[in-house]
């Protein structure tokens, strides 16, 4: 609206608003944040879809992600190459899923991806151990870690294959109302 500099065309903004949970202002703010991360790399003008990707190391340094124990996994799960390089679109995607208005199913899918460290489409004990270690500063004894993971699997595993499939995970999420509010990053 009468910006001195056009960052996006109206069509682009429409597309963003139609495909994400953000408003025009938020998209522009997100662009600002993205630009801030690497001012010399990210162009101000996005009207011609420049191909620009920021590496994981830059993105996890955002204050919103910096202290998150899953920061690397979050960024990795949203990057197309799986290595954590994010283009602006993927960046928007990430915060769109983590925004307040994203529906539970969508959040659950990405939460599952984040917790699935070894990308085998199951949360196995190994994944849970990693999650737990990240959540507790690795201060639990191995036996305790073992017990907690076993308990978790026992509680959430419906089909009895000793690991959590997405269905198990979703079922658990649906019974945990807080998930919607906690799986949420404000930008």
């Amino acid at each position: 609206m009468g910006n001195k500099q056009t960052i996006f065309t109206d069509e682009q903004l429409d597309a963003y608003q139609d495909c994400t949970f953000f408003t025009r202002k938020e998209i522009l703010r997100l662009h600002g944040r993205y630009h801030e991360l690497a001012p010399h790399l990210v162009p101000m003008d996005y009207t011609n879809d420049p191909d620009c990707k920021l590496p994981l190391a830059l993105i996890v340094n955002m204050p919103e992600l910096k202290e998150n124990p899953f920061r690397n996994r979050i960024v990795e799960s949203f990057s197309e190459d799986g290595m954590g390089n994010l283009s602006f679109n993927e960046f928007v995607d990430m915060f769109s899923v983590l925004s307040e208005t994203a529906p539970r199913e969508l959040k659950a899918i990405y939460a599952f991806k984040i917790y699935d460290f070894n990308v085998d489409n199951y949360l196995c004990k190994e994944d849970l151990e990693k999650t737990l270690n990240r959540l507790t500063k690795e201060e639990l004894t191995p036996e305790e870690v073992d017990l907690v993971c076993e308990k978790t699997i026992e509680e959430a595993d419906l089909d009895g294959d000793n690991k959590l499939s997405f269905a198990d995970f979703e079922n658990m999420i649906s019974r945990a109302p807080d998930f919607l509010s906690t799986f949420h990053i404000r930008i």
């Binding site: 429409d14 599952f112 009895g160 906690t182 990053i185």
Partner: protein, 989 residues
């Protein structure tokens, strides 16, 4: 699997190292990068190098068999060095001859157990089902794929995806714009893909529309675009207007969602009050002010300053209170009936409040309570409890340690629960009963004391207009005591938890909340009772008096809230940090603070009738409170140690706000307007029997206007008829019953479906077992025709069939040999005399023999030790067998075979054949990448040589007991043969 733990794969340290993890992941990928192209990546090569080079190549569309197989291939690699290390004969660590069998069988049963049969292709039909299906398909497609996809080629998969996309686009086209946007947003894809689908949908639509009237289509397109943009701008603007966004983010980042929920609640209440202020001010006050801008204040009343606290005196004559409003019909541009306006504004406001509360409560219940179960606590703690919004480093650290403590507690709690004896249970019950009695008694006592205090005050108070300052100050006594009770007694309650032992944190919080609610209800109930029954009869303008009392309560409550946060948070912070460090920095007590808010809001609701502008005070109060609490929180508090289930707490609070408090306030106001006689001298309803009769008067007036008969009819036959309410109640009851039944039915259904999932899981594992057994019983049918190059697959079959595994046949032979040597040794120690010519010969010979025997054993044939041991020709036989074996090891050439003069026992031949067969299999593999094979071979040979050297060293000291007949020709022959074999072998490289 115990024998396994020495291997890398099950070593936890190995898992934790990042690099190896990546290495492993990518290795499994590289291994199957393209199973159809027939190339076999050098799986036996240097692991690290290969994997690193392949890492970049693992593209997203490669087809990777999941689960069992990749583990399998990995494990196979691992087993080679393992076997070699253990070739050392007689090494003390080699104890698990028996484990060896588990080592072979177990992997299959474990890894092949779960073939990746999942995510059936999405059935066409219901929209959400469809995209969910697609989601899953996609999810499964990228990192790994399921078994079914193995059969498909990449092209087929791509086609299928494209088809699915087309279907999706078609479905979206059929939707309305609103739904379409929502559906696209909800797609679990990256933005690029969404944009692609969106553009396709748009293109499809426009092409469809262009066939219709182009102009119209254009117009409608433009209009819809315009409206959409308008909608977005409005949303944007609303976000800009959103209060305290930055502060909310900061609080959430530092203290987490649960503390944030308090501030959200506060903000919500503030909005509520702004709304009610606007309504009251707009419909009651403004018309009056327009008509008569100056308040008719008696000349002897002046503003003294104390009014701000007491609300009496000067304020008494302003529009602040009920008494300040007239009962006239204001004659301005239009006629404005103040009576009706007052009545309907309050009534409509109350109804709107009730509806808003009911709706937000119902929504909150729906999302937070209906499906919530307390059973999955551990899983919840692990996977759902982390608050992603926390950005503060200290908070993160604290949260981590809190979680650790909680997990430890939950582990120990389980153990503790079982140990509770009957006497302990009784003790707990006694303590609970005692504390409940005590708290209820306290609440009742508070109520009673307030009542007597009020009576005392009422004796002092006079109806006069002019109070001295002292008299005015005395009116503050009751609100002061009430607020003091509200401050102190809850603190006292919170001491109880030191004695009580609740099974869970939540019960404890709820108990605390219920006690506090009881206290506040009893106090408010007593006050209301006093106002209704005593004040209403004594004072001439009693509504204003009640309004003043409420005003004072609100103001004093505000002061005490400030004091509370000063004492409750600041002081305990000082004490905790300076004086008594063991107390620690205080936590922000969400439950207590929210109850304070609820109480404050209840006062405002009760006061809405008596003092229509009370919401204005409330707005100021909440506004200041927000900043106050924020500062107090950031300066003094630490995040709550127990995060509980914030969402459920929030629901509980809204429910509390609705049920005892709002309903209480509503009934109080309703009682006042229905049953109490309004004061004669002041207020809009002077001269009426009760407030509600204003409607009757109005209807009576309406009867004269001919066109409004229907209003009269409605009033006569609906509002005033009992039958109508009776019917309505009946219908609502029936509807409630039906919905309740539906809910029960759904609950049952959920249970059934869950059971079904469990059953499916059982079926799956049962079928898998069957399949496995089937594979075992038909070992040789499957592997070769299907995929001759895929040794991983075949290996598993080979192993399950029990024949020699091709990849590490050598290793197995060596292992078997070693086992036999062990046996041999044992046998000797046990006193079984072994013929002397053998025992005296070199270790070499024994090794050969053992080897031979091992080969025999592997074929499940009878050992014939006597035969082999007795004659020296047997020795030569052994030598030759060995020679042949070694020849095969290198080239699988049969050069040395034909000259074999000795027709050995059938056992030997059979053993040879078996070996040959296995090596044939091995040869298949070996001719792919020669270098890697050779390196492994080399390794094997070296290890073996080393083992044999050790053999020699070990056995060399032994001979003295039995002098060696060194000249035995058999021995020489054997040595020669060996040498020859060795030479040939060396030439090979």
């Amino acid at each position: 699997m115990t024998s396994y733990s020495s291997g890398g794969y099950f070593n936890p340290a190995y898992h934790d190292s990042e690099t190896l993890e990546i290495d492993r992941r990518s290795s499994s990928k590289t291994h199957h990068t393209n199973p159809y192209a027939g190339e076999d990546p050098a799986w036996r090569g240097d692991r690290a190098e290969t994997h690193n080079t392949f890492m970049g190549q693992s593209s997203s569309d490669d087809v990777v068999p999941r689960g069992g197989w990749q583990e399998e291939s990995w494990r196979g690699r691992e087993s080679i060095p393992m076997g070699l290390i253990s070739t050392r004969p007689g090494s003390p660590s080699w104890k698990h001859g028996n484990n060896h069998s588990t080592f072979q069988i177990n992997p299959d049963s474990q890894y092949d157990q779960s073939p990746p049969v999942r995510f059936p292709p999405p059935a066409s039909g219901h929209m959400t089902m469809r995209w969910r299906g697609m989601t899953r398909r996609r999810m499964s497609m990228f990192p790994n794929t399921d078994l079914a996809h193995l059969v498909l080629t990449e092209d087929a998969i791509r086609n299928e995806m494209e088809n699915e996309e087309q279907d999706l686009v078609k479905e979206f086209v059929a939707l309305s714009t609103q739904d379409r946007i929502r559906a696209i947003r909800d797609l679990p894809m990256s933005f690029e893909e969404k944009k692609h689908i969106r553009s396709q949908v748009l293109a499809f639509r426009s092409s469809k529309q262009s066939r219709q009237f182009t102009c119209f289509a254009d117009c409608s397109e433009n209009v819809s675009l315009f409206f959409r943009r308008c909608g977005y701008s409005i949303r944007s603007a609303r976000q800009t207007l959103e209060l305290w966004q930055g502060i909310m983010k900061e609080i959430g980042g530092k203290f987490g969602t649960s503390v944030l929920s308090y501030f959200m609640f506060l903000k919500w209440l503030l909005m509520f009050n702004i709304f009610s202020f606007l309504v009251n001010f707009g419909f009651i006050t403004i018309p009056l002010l327009v008509y008569d801008p100056l308040p008719n204040i008696p000349p002897n009343v002046s503003f003294r300053g104390l009014e701000i606290l007491t609300g009496a005196g000067y304020f008494n004559h302003t529009v602040m209170y009920y008494g300040g409003y007239s009962n006239e019909t204001l004659m301005g541009l239009v006629e404005y009936n103040m009576q009706l306006a007052y009545f309907f504004t309050i009534a409509v406001y109350m109804v709107l409040c009730g509806l808003a509360l009911i709706f937000s409560m119902a929504r909150s219940f729906k999302t937070n309570y209906v499906l919530a179960e307390s059973t999955s606590n551990g899983a919840w703690q692990l996977l759902c409890s982390w608050d992603f919004s926390i950005t503060n480093e200290r908070a993160v650290r604290q949260r981590k340690s809190n979680l650790r403590v909680q997990l430890k507690e939950s582990l120990s709690e389980k153990a503790q629960m079982e140990l509770l004896t009957l006497s302990e249970k009784l003790k707990h019950f006694g303590v609970h009963l005692g504390s409940w009695l005590l708290s209820t008694g306290l609440a009742v006592g508070c109520g009673a004391s307030i009542y007597y205090l009020c009576q005392y005050e009422q004796q002092l108070a006079t109806d006069g207009a002019n109070w001295s300052l002292l008299q005015e100050a005395e009116t503050l006594l009751v609100p002061f005591v009430v607020s003091l009770m509200n401050l102190v007694v809850p603190l006292f309650y919170s001491l109880f938890y030191k004695f009580e032992h609740y099974s869970s944190q939540r019960t404890q919080i709820y108990a605390l909340v219920v006690r506090n609610v009881l206290l506040r209800m009893s106090i408010l109930g007593v006050l209301c009772f006093y106002w209704m029954n005593v004040v209403a009869k004594k004072f001439s303008c009693w509504e204003s008096k009640v309004g003043q009392a409420l005003y004072r309560l609100v103001i004093v409550d505000f002061l005490f809230l400030m004091l509370g946060s000063f004492f409750g948070e600041f002081l305990s912070n000082v004490i905790g940090t300076r004086l008594l460090p063991r107390l620690g920095v205080p936590e922000f007590d969400i439950a207590r603070n929210v109850l304070e808010l609820i109480y404050a809001q209840t006062l405002a609701w009760i006061g809405i009738y008596f003092s229509p502008l009370l919401p204005a005070i409330q707005i100021v109060k909440f506004f200041i409170l927000f900043y106050l609490k924020k500062v107090s929180l950031t300066q003094n508090c630490q995040p709550p140690r127990r995060t509980g289930r914030a969402a459920q707490m929030h629901t509980t609070f809204i429910a509390l706000l609705f049920f005892p408090f709002f309903v209480g306030a509503l009934s109080m106001v309703a009682y006042t307007s229905w049953s109490l006689t309004p004061s004669e001298q002041c207020g809009p309803f002077r001269g009426l029997n009760n407030t509600f009769s204003v409607v009757g008067v109005w209807i009576h007036d309406l009867e004269e206007i001919p066109r409004s008969q229907w209003v009269v009819w409605i009033y006569q036959h609906v509002i005033r008829s009992e039958i109508f309410y009776f019917l309505i109640t009946l219908i609502i009851l029936v509807i409630i019953y039906i919905f309740w039944q539906v809910t029960q039915g759904r609950k049952d259904l959920i249970g059934l479906l869950r059971q079904q999932i469990v059953n499916e899981g059982k079926d799956k594992s049962f079928l898998l077992d069957k399949l496995q057994n089937f594979q075992k019983s038909h070992p040789n049918k499957k592997p070769k025709p299907r995929n001759p190059k895929k040794h991983t697959k075949r290996r598993s079959d080979d192993r399950s069939s029990g024949s020699q595994s091709n990849s590490n046949a050598m290793v197995q032979a060596l292992l078997a040999r070693q086992r036999l040597e062990e046996e041999e040794e044992r046998r000797r120690a046990g006193g079984v005399l072994v013929p002397s010519d053998i025992s005296t010969s070199s270790a070499m010979m024994q090794a050969m023999l053992a080897r031979q025997r091992a080969e025999d054993q592997e074929e499940d044939l009878h050992q014939m030790p006597d035969k082999h041991l007795s004659s020296s020709s047997a020795l030569t036989q052994a030598m030759q067998a060995r020679q042949r074996a070694e020849g095969q090891d290198e080239y699988y050439s049969t050069a040395g075979f034909s000259e074999d003069p000795v027709n050995g026992s059938s056992a030997v031949i059979q053993a040879m054949k078996a070996r040959q067969r296995s090596e044939e299999d091995g040869a298949d593999d070996r001719d792919d990448p020669a270098s890697s094979v050779s390196s492994v071979m080399m390794q094997v040979m070296q290890a073996r040589q080393r083992a044999e050297e050790e053999d020699r060293i070990r056995w060399a000291p032994a001979p003295p007991q039995n002098p060696a007949p060194s000249g035995s020709s058999a021995l020489i022959q054997a040595m020669l043969a060996r040498q020859q074999a060795q030479n040939e072998y060396d030439d090979g490289y």
